[in-house]
Structure formats: structure tokens, C-alpha cells
């Protein structure tokens, strides 16, 4: 069997990047661009969370905490300690990954609802730290004065340039996820999701794989947090609380478990949704809950699965008509 030198995933991610880069031209004004930037940030987290939830089957209700750890770490490093931005960014991603590594050992022994409870508790604890460690984080009123992202002497001053950067980052994250899942690691994660017994009987180290994917998904959330902080230049604990953790889960479930593209779609959809539903501002968590319930009832495989089924149905209808 001959295989092309450029893999299918590279082509898909490349086309996706082109699509993302074409979007600004179609937008009526700059405001929508900022929503696209937030959408890409959320998509980075959702793709990472899907590796953990959709593929490996481990629920996390505390992923907003890793997002926040990344954001606060780079904020504090670059302002208070005056460190260069790349160092702050590395610190943010590293902190999120390191905390995940520590939390993983006791947490990932738990299954199902217990794991959900443990990660929920973890998220709440971190959220309390963001609120109460006022000297360090600025407390509930937030942390101001974070420098706009500058790398290699170039400052991403305009939203347009920041969006281009996010498009590249997101396409790369998607590519990493696609490649990882089509490898022995991906097979091992999907295997332990279905049967830990069978997976370990085939030589797969369950604990090591769970920890790896947990740390990876936390690092991606941390990366998004870092990019969020240097985009908005202002962060507050409210962005990293339980409510956002729930939103992230809804993005993954709505998009489709174990579908990288589904997570991207879910993230963009749910980021844009509040704009369409401004009247519901105070009851947004109810709206997310409703979306979650409706998705589980009517689209068990999420948008990705629903589209696939629709495609199959249309093809069948087409065949019937042709025949």
C-alpha cells in the first residue's frame, strides 16, 4: 500500500487554516473578529478537553482552572516580575501542566461521577485562590496591565494580527490532536475508555496514559489562558470559574465526543451563541444546561455525529431516487 508523503491530517489542518484565514474578509466589523479570537481560544481548550473526555473517557469539570492558571501565571510573571513575554507564556503552560501532573495521581484513580466531583472540587479551590489571594491576583476585581503579546520583536497590536496568530495556533493544535489520535497513544486512550481491563491485559499502562492525556489537555488549556491574558490585557476570576468549566464540557458534548472537528465547531458555536442570546444574560447557565440536555437526547454523537448521520441519510435518499 503506497502512502502519500503529506498525510491526510496535514491536508485537513491546512485547509482548515485557509478557511480560518478567510473568515475576517466575510465579517461586517472588527467586533466580530474579537469573537472569532475568543472562539479560537475556546476551541484550543475544547480540543484538548475532548482528548481527555471524548477519547480517553475521563470527565473534567475543572478545566477552567487550568485556563486560569495559565492566564494568571503569565500575567504575574510579565508584570510583577518583569519577565519577557515568552518566558511568562512558558511559565503559564508549565504551571497548568505541572498542577495537572500533581492532581492526576490521586484524581484519575476515580471513575465516572467521582472523577467529575474531584475535578469539580479542584476547579472550585483554584477559583477561590484566584479570588482570595488578592496580593498576587488582584482578587475579584481582576488583574490589569498585562502587556499585549509581542514575539520576536513583533507586537500583535491589531485584532487582525492576533486572529491570524490564533488561526495558526488552532490549526496546529488540531493537527497535533489528529496525529496523536492516529497513533499507538490514541489507540491506547480509546481502548482504556472502553475497557481498562482489556487495555492493561494488552500491555497498556492505564495510569500513565490517563496522566499523559490529563496533563496534555491541561497544558492546552494553559496555552489558551496565556494567549487570552496577552490578548485582553485584563483578566478576572469570573472567567475561570465553574460556569466556564461547564461551558467547555458543553462545547465538547455538543460538538461530538471523540471528534476533533466537533470540538472546534462546538467551541465556535457556543462562543457566538451569547451574542445571539443577549437577553438571556442572567440565565445563561440554564441555556447551556438546556443545550446539553437536548444534545444528549437528540444528538448523542454531537454535531459531528449528527452531520455524519444526515450525510448518510441524504446519500441513501439520493440512491433511492436514482434507483
Amino acid at each position: 500500500m503506497k502512502r502519500p508523503v503529506i498525510g491526510q491530517s496535514v491536508v485537513q489542518a491546512g485547509l482548515f487554516l485557509l478557511l480560518l484565514l478567510a473568515v475576517p474578509a466575510a465579517l461586517p466589523n472588527e467586533y466580530y473578529l474579537s469573537i472569532c479570537i475568543l472562539g479560537s481560544l475556546n476551541a484550543v481548550i475544547a480540543v484538548g478537553l475532548n482528548l481527555l473526555m471524548g477519547y480517553a473517557g475521563q470527565v473534567s469539570l475543572g478545566h477552567a482552572a487550568f485556563y486560569g492558571l495559565g492566564a494568571y501565571a503569565t500575567a504575574i510573571a510579565t508584570t510583577r516580575f518583569g519577565l519577557p513575554i515568552p518566558v511568562g507564556m512558558a511559565a503559564g503552560v508549565t504551571l497548568a501542566a505541572a498542577v495537572a501532573w500533581i492532581v492526576a495521581a490521586p484524581t484519575l484513580r476515580l471513575k465516572g461521577n467521582y472523577l467529575a466531583m474531584a475535578t469539580l472540587g479542584f476547579g472550585i479551590i483554584i477559583s477561590i485562590v484566584f479570588n482570595e489571594a488578592v496580593d498576587l491576583t488582584g482578587g475579584p476585581s481582576g488583574y490589569v496591565g498585562i502587556p499585549r503579546l509581542a514575539l520576536f520583536g513583533y507586537t500583535f497590536e491589531s485584532d487582525r494580527s492576533y486572529y491570524t496568530l490564533m488561526a495558526v495556533v488552532l490549526a496546529l493544535v488540531v493537527l497535533v490532536a489528529l496525529h496523536l489520535m492516529k497513533s499507538r497513544t490514541g489507540r491506547a486512550l480509546r481502548a482504556l475508555h472502553v475497557s481498562e481491563k482489556a487495555a492493561s491485559s494488552l500491555g497498556i499502562d492505564i495510569a500513565a496514559h490517563k496522566r499523559f492525556v490529563f496533563v496534555l489537555s491541561a497544558a492546552l488549556a494553559g496555552l489558551a489562558g496565556v494567549l487570552y491574558a496577552h490578548y485582553l490585557s485584563f483578566i478576572a476570576p469570573a472567567s475561570f470559574g465553574f460556569s466556564f468549566s461547564v461551558q467547555l464540557v458543553v462545547m465538547v458534548v455538543l460538538g461530538g465526543m471523540a471528534s476533533v472537528w466537533g470540538s472546534v465547531a462546538g467551541a465556535f458555536f457556543l462562543t457566538a451563541l451569547p451574542e445571539a442570546l443577549r437577553e438571556f444574560e442572567d440565565i445563561d447557565i440554564l441555556v447551556y444546561g438546556a443545550i446539553l440536555v437536548l444534545t444528549i437526547m437528540f444528538l448523542p454523537d454531537g454535531l459531528a455525529g449528527g452531520l455524519k448521520r444526515l450525510g448518510r441519510k441524504l446519500r441513501r435518499v439520493g440512491v433511492d431516487h436514482a434507483g
Partner: protein
């Protein structure tokens, strides 16, 4: 047909294995050996401790006492995944197929420990990664052909009928290139035709692929047809061991199976 009954060096040697669940002794100082190159069956009435023995050998329940060696190396202290890497691979009585994956992916997962490349290599799709994945795929296809499932390679594993899922588990286990393949009631739920085919397949695993087989099975016809050696467990203790003929003639075994007269 049982080929060689000459007991050479034991591949697996379980001695004095004790397993307790709370106050219940599931296994009591049980000995069980499997000769290299043989098909060795472990039989006994329900609750005799057969599956517990398999679980103890594969590291899924802890031993309260006793020793387990594979090819002379002590494996009793290893976690399940290390025992698999050492060469003990099993199938499950209640199927544990990875239903969300394709048939081929299931079998490729069986080669997890044999497919070696770094995560970085998989992200960069290096030539080494491509080579290893191709080798993994080829070896997995070979195992699927061996059990007769090559046609179904791209089918979602959960869509396979029951009997074929059993074959898939066997292919997946064979893909790991075990020294010892442990089959936990592989004929459960199969019809008589499928069972006969399974018997041929078990012999072929041993004779053609040179994999030693440990078989836990209730279907006596199958056990007698394929086994070189049989060990009988009764209430967690070994009751008898010998060739199929000797076991069939053993009065203790007959009594254990038919019940004692009071």
C-alpha cells in the same frame, strides 16, 4: 489431535497460589503448570476458581500467597501491563472488545507494547513512525487473516456478531505475540459449528504459531479434543492433572462433576 504430551520445561509455573476475597478462599494453595508448546486446559465445576486462576496469572487479582513464574522468571509482583509485556496475554469470558474502534484498530492495539515510537515521532509523522505503523498494521492484518476476520478489518468492532467478537479478541491477543495465550471460556455462546472451528483454531495457535495455550472451558467435548494436558480444580484446590484420557477415567474427577452420593 493432541500432538506432543512429553512434558518439557514448564512455561508457566503457578505454585501454592492462594487468593482470598474477604473470608472466602477462591484459590487455596493451588498448583498449575503449563508445558511449553502445549494446549493445557483448566477445568472444574462452577465456582472452582478457574477464572480466578486466570486473573491471578494475569495480575488482575492479588495473590495472598504462592509464586508464579513464566519461563523461569518471577512475574507475581508485576502489574497486568508488565505481565502482558512479559508474554502472558488473555481473552475474556465476558467480551472486552473495544467497541468504539474498528476491527483492525482493535488488533493494532494488541501490538501496543511491540510498536515503539515516541509521541514526538507520531506528531511529526517521522519515517520511523510510518515504518512502525505499517509493520503494526501488517502484523495485525496477518492475525485477522489467521482467525478469518480479514474481510471485516474496517468494520466497527461493536457491529460484529458475538461469535466473531470472540475471534477478534483472539486475534487481538495473538497480535501481542504472547508466549502464553490464556483463553477464558472462548466457546461460551458459540454454536456447535463455531465451537468446532474454534477447536481447530486453538490447535493452530499452538501448532502453527507456536503459542502455548492455557484454556479455561466448560465445553468438555472441546477440552478433550484440543488439550494435551488437563488440570482439574475443585473448590479452589487442584483435584487432578493428566492427559485427557487419564482425566476422563479419574474417579475423583467423575465424583466432582457428577456430585457425591450421600
Amino acid at each position: 489431535m493432541p500432538a506432543n504430551t512429553t512434558p518439557c520445561a514448564p512455561l508457566l509455573d503457578v505454585s501454592g497460589a492462594t487468593v482470598r476475597f474477604g473470608g472466602i478462599h477462591a484459590l487455596t494453595e493451588a498448583d498449575f503448570t503449563i508445558a511449553k508448546g502445549s494446549v493445557t486446559a483448566l477445568i472444574g465445576p462452577n465456582g472452582a476458581g478457574k477464572t480466578t486462576m486466570l486473573n491471578a496469572i494475569t495480575g488482575m487479582v492479588p495473590l495472598a500467597g504462592g509464586a508464579i513464574t513464566l519461563d523461569g522468571t518471577d512475574i507475581a509482583g508485576l502489574p497486568p501491563q508488565k505481565r502482558a509485556a512479559a508474554g502472558v496475554v488473555r481473552t475474556f469470558q465476558n467480551l472486552e472488545v473495544f467497541t468504539s474502534m474498528s476491527v483492525l484498530e482493535n488488533v493494532m492495539t494488541g501490538r501496543h507494547a511491540l510498536t515503539r515510537y515516541s509521541i514526538t515521532a507520531s506528531l511529526l509523522r517521522t519515517p520511523g513512525f510510518r515504518r512502525a505503523e505499517r509493520a503494526c498494521r501488517d502484523a495485525a492484518m496477518d492475525c485477522l487473516e489467521f482467525v478469518g476476520l480479514a474481510e471485516a478489518a474496517d468494520t466497527p468492532a461493536g457491529d460484529l456478531p458475538y461469535g466473531k467478537q470472540r475471534l477478534l479478541e483472539m486475534a487481538r491477543a495473538l497480535a501481542a505475540e504472547p508466549k502464553l495465550l490464556l483463553l477464558d471460556e472462548p466457546a461460551a455462546g458459540l454454536n456447535s459449528k463455531e465451537t468446532a472451528q474454534l477447536g481447530d483454531l486453538i490447535r493452530a495457535v499452538c501448532d502453527r504459531r507456536n503459542v502455548t495455550v492455557g484454556l479455561v472451558e466448560h465445553d468438555m467435548e472441546l477440552v478433550m479434543a484440543v488439550s494435551d494436558h488437563i488440570t482439574v480444580l475443585h473448590f479452589g484446590r487442584p483435584l487432578a492433572a493428566g492427559t485427557p484420557d487419564a482425566i476422563q477415567a479419574n474417579p475423583d474427577v467423575i465424583k466432582a462433576y457428577l456430585g457425591e452420593d450421600d
